[in-house]
């Protein structure tokens, strides 16, 4: 174990050991004092280091903090691509190599990416677990955490907290009936929101309203309500006289933020680990609140807020030139040719992912739809209603169908397979049914009259004669699925949609094309190949069957 790695774990332990008390521990630990700037290493690679982020202020600030620090301390060019999208999009971008590093939260890695079945509880265990699993499964490294944990919290109006002596959530139980609460609708509905926390702490608030988050803070300032839900690093907490209650029973999972880095980046730019290590513990909850406040409430630029923070911390020389155009989102350097060449490997992987996604969905649709189509051709009264239902599914927009799958199957591959399967179903089902119904009745009659069993009629006469129509359905399904599968990236299922989604977020046309063109090409090739197969079926075959 490298000494840096060792230090990271010790730091992590120190930060996380105190039940979410990052603030206290962070403040108690002396921050590394003015470390000597590491020797600048010669940039052996021309490829810039790309720092990504999710699409909300805190994460974007952190991306700029990391980007500027790396830019200042190493010889590498840095590009910050902030606001890429949700967790799975950004993580997908990290895995595919579109970005090299981004800020992630332990609880998110635990629940969303690793999909651990039970809730994360102990902060240290959570960090160690995600760090180990990411390294093992994705070759992605968790660096020392920034210090804060961004999780749900309950906050009480200052005077009320003082009057009733409220400091921890458990203090609420005795007085909860006297309080008026206004919480966000999402908080009211989520299992890890009001339903969960009120059960865990035995809270019974008679006057409980769901309201828009911004309004709740206004209502609180006006003295109309006493209790709101918040994020522990919410910038608005600074603006109002509020007491954030400590989650003393550890109901909310820890969400400690830390830089996560591709393993191969640490090979080509090992100094990045030390550079980012300097950010460890620099950002306790209150500090993060302040930075969020500067952006969200004061409307300041991410890059400026990040730069000021780094200068205040003594990590950046104020005389250094401010972030140059490399920090403007979406501006990648290098010409198109280099861009394309640099992406060949990734594109190949994405094409394979995409094909697999399509293949599995379409094949399972064939397995389900062909027998169902046979059943409908036998029981035609069922055909109308069943085809109608399949038709309705087909009209649901792709994204909506994917969204419907999430509550049932969660994010990722399963949901994508299910949605794509449903899309592929109708064309195959309809064509199987039509193909069978359109088989010349006289031929079926001849077969039955000759003494073929119903199964033999199906196998030797009906299916072969309907094969072309069925194949046309499979072809339609495959082409549709290749198209819809690009949407699967929105829910983290990978494939050629990944660069498209990322490119859309970044307004980077090249990246969009890097996904869209191969996807279109794939669709055309599939169409051609299956079209050939279809025509082969159309020409009656001389081949005698295997005896």
């Amino acid at each position: 174990m490298s000494t840096t790695r060792h230090r990271a774990l010790v730091l992590a332990g120190a930060v996380l050991a105190g039940l979410g008390g990052a603030r206290e521990v962070g403040a108690a630990l002396p921050a590394p004092q003015d470390p000597a700037p590491p020797a600048r290493t010669a940039a052996t690679e021309r490829r810039p280091i790309v720092v990504g982020s999710k699409n909300f202020a805190e994460n974007r600030i952190l991306a700029h903090v990391m980007g500027q620090l790396i830019e200042a301390r190493t010889d590498h060019e840095v590009v910050v691509e902030d606001g890429l999208g949700g967790t799975l999009v950004v993580f997908g971008a990290l895995r595919s190599g579109d970005i090299d590093v981004y800020p992630e939260y332990t609880g998110t890695g635990w629940a969303i990416v690793l999909k651990e079945p039970e809730a994360a509880a102990d902060p240290l265990r959570t960090y160690v677990h995600v760090a180990r699993e990411y390294a093992r499964r994705f070759d992605v490294r968790w660096l020392p955490p920034f210090g804060f944990s961004n999780s749900y919290a309950l906050a009480v109006r200052g005077p009320v907290a003082e009057e009733l002596g409220l400091a921890r959530v458990s203090d609420l139980a005795a007085v909860s009936e006297r309080l008026r609460a206004g919480v966000s609708h999402e908080f009211l509905a989520r299992e890890d929101g009001w339903p969960g926390v009120s059960a865990a702490y035995g809270l019974e608030i008679a006057d409980l309203r769901g309201m828009e988050h911004g309004l709740a803070f206004e209502a609180l300032a006006a003295g109309e309500i006493d209790l709101v839900d918040a994020w522990t690093t919410d910038g608005k907490l600074l603006r109002y006289d509020l007491t954030v209650l400590e989650d003393d029973r550890g109901f909310w999972p820890p969400y400690h933020a830390a830089p996560i880095v591709r393993g191969d980046l640490l090979l080509r730019a090992p100094e990045v680990e030390d550079v980012l290590g300097e950010l460890a513990l620099r950002l306790p909850d209150a500090r993060m609140q302040a930075l969020n406040h500067a952006v969200e409430v004061d409307g300041r630029a991410f890059a400026d807020v990040a730069r000021e923070f780094l200068i205040e911390e003594g990590l950046l020389d104020p005389s250094d030139a401010p972030a140059d155009d490399g920090f403007r989102a979406g501006e990648r350097r290098g010409d198109l040719l280099t861009f394309v060449a640099g992406r060949l490997g990734i594109t190949g992987e994405l094409v394979l992912e995409h094909l697999l996604l399509t293949l599995v969905s379409v094949l399972s649709a064939v397995v389900a739809a062909v027998p169902l189509g046979v059943l409908l051709a036998r029981r035609r009264r069922l055909a109308g209603p069943v085809l109608q239902v399949a038709g309705v599914i087909q009209t649901i927009p792709g994204l909506a169908l994917l969204a419907f799958m999430i509550p049932v199957l969660g994010l990722g591959l399963d949901a994508a397979y299910a949605a794509l399967f449903l899309y592929a179903l109708l064309p195959i089902l309809r064509n199987t049914y039509t193909g069978l119904v359109e088989v010349d009745r006289d031929l079926v009659d001849a077969a039955v009259g000759m003494g073929l069993t119903p199964r033999q009629v199906l196998r030797h006469v009906e299916l072969p004669l309907a094969a072309r129509t069925i194949m046309a359905g499979v072809r339609t399904a495959a082409v549709i699925t290749i198209g819809v599968a690009t949407l699967a990236a929105f829910i983290g299922a990978g494939g050629l949609g990944e660069p498209i989604v990322t490119g859309l977020q970044l307004d980077d046309t090249r990246l969009v094309l890097a996904g869209a063109l191969p996807a279109a090409l794939l669709a055309v090739l599939t169409d051609l190949a299956l079209g050939r197969a279809e025509r082969r079926l159309a020409t009656p075959s001389r081949g005698a069957p295997g005896a």
């Binding site: 001849a446 003494g451 001389r542």
Partner: protein, 253 residues
Amino acid sequence: MDGGDPTAVAFRGVRKEFPAPDGGVVAAVDDVTLEVAEGETLCLIGTSGSGKTTLLRMVNRLEEPTRGAVLVRGEDVATHDAVRLRRGTGYVIQSGGLFPHMTVERNVGLLCELEDWDADSRRARVRELLAMVHLPPDEFAERMPHELSGGQRQRVGVARALALDPPLVLMDEPFGALDPITRATLRDEFAELRAAVRKTVVLVTHDMAEAFALGDRIALLDAGRLRQVGTAEDFRERPADDFVARFLAEHFA
């Protein structure tokens, strides 16, 4: 009744109703009682829509009688296993019914294949049958149905019906939709075939001359009812009623 020959097929007061478009029913076959002796060729004749096909299809259970019973070799077909009954009953349908996705060889040999014959005996049987219907096997075995003329298709249909050497063959206008010369040729070949393979044949036609040439006996249907059963001579010499006389006059004009 023919001498002491056992009965191959018997219709006992058979009636078949179909739902009519007006919500009522039409009797396609109405109270038909008729026997076909073993080894006999019976021609069913009548105008279009008189119920010939329907009567034939009740023999191999493609239709179930509404009333009455159809007996094959003395047993009600309703008690036969439908698949076994059909494999023992050759069937040539009105429109030919060759499977367009199979070669001639496979069309003819399909039942042998389903009866698990080995490839060699299957092949030998197909060649024998094709030769029997005057289609040189080397030339025709590998063809697809769409590569055949109408007459060749009908022959393949006949060969296919004979594949398992069934004792009973049902033929629904096997020579329909052909030009008169081909028709005459096929009819002669059929007569020749009949002499070679002793089978019970029920043959539907609406050509009186064909019925007279091929049938040991002839049954005339009209609107589902049996108007007369007898030999060609019976019909010529002793038409049962005015309708039969008129039918003969019209069809020999």
